[in-house]
């Protein structure tokens, strides 16, 4: 089992607040890895460090063996490491198809391809992925007019068409109607199996993460608290204490 992302000894401070302290973890290739922890435990900070959103104070982050902790966001994204945002971010004024077309990967695109029209197969592929997430009928509506849950699905679809090697999902089920969550879990798993995308998921909903992930890391107060398969984590006394507020 090769690891895709290797985080070792990463610390991040904001002023005097230590958001991440000496965090080490590894995300295995081709699997679904979970990251849990109470509010304010530093999960999103760690995501931001990995994707290059802010500099880290110490430690190293490698992606497929390549050091990425000094690179900037677009460079890291072009390596095939993509993230979705906790507060969903889509291009609100454009319709869903345009949102998809923008997200077509530009990794090795030569300069001259900047002005080309979109090919029929690209459009078909975008339609197929919108179909996959259930937004086919709304594909010509401005993305900003979709409901919050639909926007999350669109953001997920945009990530899929970008053909990343790994996708970092920040609370994919937050704000989604509970009846739709099962469908979403199913789609995430299919993305992993059919598209071959490694997933690294922050999630608050325990039922979701226990169903989805192969192995789970738990953060608390910026420290790595526990690591194991879902069964171990569910029965880990420290994890339960962290969630219930005991120290």
């Amino acid at each position: 089992m090769t690891s895709m992302i290797e985080v070792s000894g990463v610390s991040k401070r904001f002023g005097g607040v230590v958001a991440n302290n000496q965090i080490s973890l590894s995300v295995p290739s081709g699997r679904i890895t979970g990251l849990i922890g109470p509010n304010g435990s530093g999960k999103t900070t760690l995501f931001n460090s990995i994707v290059g959103f802010h500099p880290i104070d110490e430690g190293s982050i490698t992606f497929e063996g390549k050091e990425i902790s000094k690179l900037r966001v677009p460079q890291i994204a072009r390596l095939g490491l993509l993230r979705t945002f906790q507060q969903t971010r889509i291009y609100g004024k454009m319709n869903c198809m345009d949102n998809m077309m923008i997200s077509v990967p530009q990794r090795r695109m030569p300069l001259s391809r900047m002005f080309v029209k979109f090919s029929a197969e690209m459009l078909e592929r975008a339609e197929a992925i919108l179909e996959f997430v259930g937004l086919y009928q709304k594909r010509y509506l401005p993305a900003g007019s979709l409901s919050f849950g639909q926007q999350k699905l669109l953001e997920f679809a945009m990530a899929l068409i970008n053909e990343p090697k790994i996708l970092l999902l920040d609370e994919p089920t937050a704000g989604i109607n509970p009846t739709l969550i099962n469908g979403l879990i199913d789609r995430l798993r299919r993305a992993n199996e059919e598209f071959g995308i490694t997933l690294f998921v922050i999630e608050h909903n325990m039922r979701v993460i226990m169903n989805l992930a192969d192995n789970i890391y738990c953060l608390a107060h910026g420290e790595m608290l526990a690591h194991g398969n879902p069964g171990d984590i569910q029965n880990d006394k420290r994890v339960i204490d962290a969630y219930l507020g005991a120290h």
Partner: protein
């Protein structure tokens, strides 16, 4: 793009383009007294279109695009003079030296000047862009405004190009009437060329990507888009056409100087912004519409308002920006969204059809 509403829009678009072509060709013969004003209209349309690439489509509101207009003007002037004479000597004489350009010399110099102006400005934009593209929002607007203001003063203090007293351009080898027509059609063609080029550029990946930068640049970066590359190219395109228009305008006027003609930052430089806003920024036809209406408004107020025209113009800017910022086309899009293809597609995909049939 959608099939729905597209047909109607393309009919309008083709009719509009035809009308413009017919008007453009016939205008100098129908209204010979207004040839210069109509030539200015084409330049204004070019201004609005080029501003909109960055300001409307990409969300980078430059207040200093006039920089490239003036730079193009000066580049062409220097090139045109340099091919037959020493520039420093020529400018030092403040137009006292009259060099007779042969017809061949004039036109080769002019053609070369226009091309160099376009290319030079595009390169200039790329260099300048790398300095300011780390700026966002108000800082970008103020920074570009400042640079354009400074450009006028710096050129004014540069004796090689004549300083504040400017340069008399080489004299057109021909009569007044053919000269006016020659420059009129150059203005017309450059505006049409800009429009057609942008129409082509806006039909594919370039447009959606720069729209993405406008809507959420951070997200675009997180998706791995080469944002800087697109920004540089977008500004380069604007600078290229602005440079060419500057070169043509300088020769049409016949005399160039830094503050009023080449770098009129707080007049023409701001007009280009207002014209795009008036017509509807972020659209192809909006700037054309806005420039036409604005130019008409300006010419009418200049004739009838005797000294108050600038106040009227400032008021127009305020009213436009504060109460009507979506512009004419933006307003139309809010009112009749289905014309612009914003609809739910009731058709189901093939996959769903089969699924439903299977269920039945």
């Amino acid at each position: 793009m959608t099939a729905i509403g597209k047909k109607r829009r393309s009919t309008f678009s083709i009719l509009g383009q035809l009308a413009i072509l017919v008007f453009g060709v016939a205008a100098p013969f129908l209204f010979p007294a207004y040839t210069f004003q109509i030539a200015m209209l084409w330049i204004m349309i070019l201004f609005a279109l080029t501003w909109d690439i960055m300001g409307g489509q990409m969300g980078y509101n430059s207040l200093g695009n006039i920089l490239f207009f003036g730079a193009g003007m000066y580049i062409s002037a220097v090139v045109q003079i340099a091919i037959v004479y020493d520039v420093a000597e020529y400018t030092a004489a403040f137009g006292a030296i009259k060099i007779d350009f042969t017809t061949a010399q004039y036109f080769t110099g002019f053609a070369l000047g226009v091309i160099m102006a376009g290319l030079g400005c595009a390169i200039f934009a790329a260099i300048f862009g790398s300095m300011v593209f780390g700026l966002r929002g108000p800082y970008f607007a103020i920074g570009t405004l400042g640079v354009a203001l400074a450009a006028g003063e710096l050129v004014g203090g540069w004796d090689y190009v004549g300083g504040g007293s400017g340069i008399s351009m080489p004299v057109y080898p021909g009569d007044v009437q053919p000269r006016a027509l020659f420059f009129y059609f150059l203005c017309f063609i450059s505006a049409i060329a800009t429009f057609m080029f942008l129409k082509w550029v806006y039909s594919g990946r370039f447009k959606t990507t720069i729209n993405a930068i406008r809507d959420d640049e951070e997200k675009a970066e997180a998706m791995g888009i080469h944002t800087t590359r697109y920004k540089v190219v977008a500004w380069g395109i604007a600078a290229f056409f602005l440079g060419i228009s500057g070169a043509i305008f300088g020769n049409m006027i016949g005399f160039i100087e830094p503050l009023e003609v080449a770098f009129p930052t707080i007049t023409l430089g701001i007009f280009m912004v207002v014209m795009s806003l008036l017509g509807g920024k972020g659209t192809l036809w909006g700037p054309v519409l806005g420039a036409t209406l604005f130019h008409l408004f300006k010419e009418v107020t200049w004739i009838y308002l005797l000294g108050w025209q600038w106040v009227a113009l400032g008021t127009l800017i305020i009213v436009n920006v504060v109460f009507f910022q979506q512009g004419i086309l933006g307003w139309a899009q809010d009112k009749w969204p289905e014309w612009f293809g914003i609809v739910v597609d009731e058709k189901m995909s093939a996959e769903q059809e089969t699924a439903r049939e299977a269920a039945q």
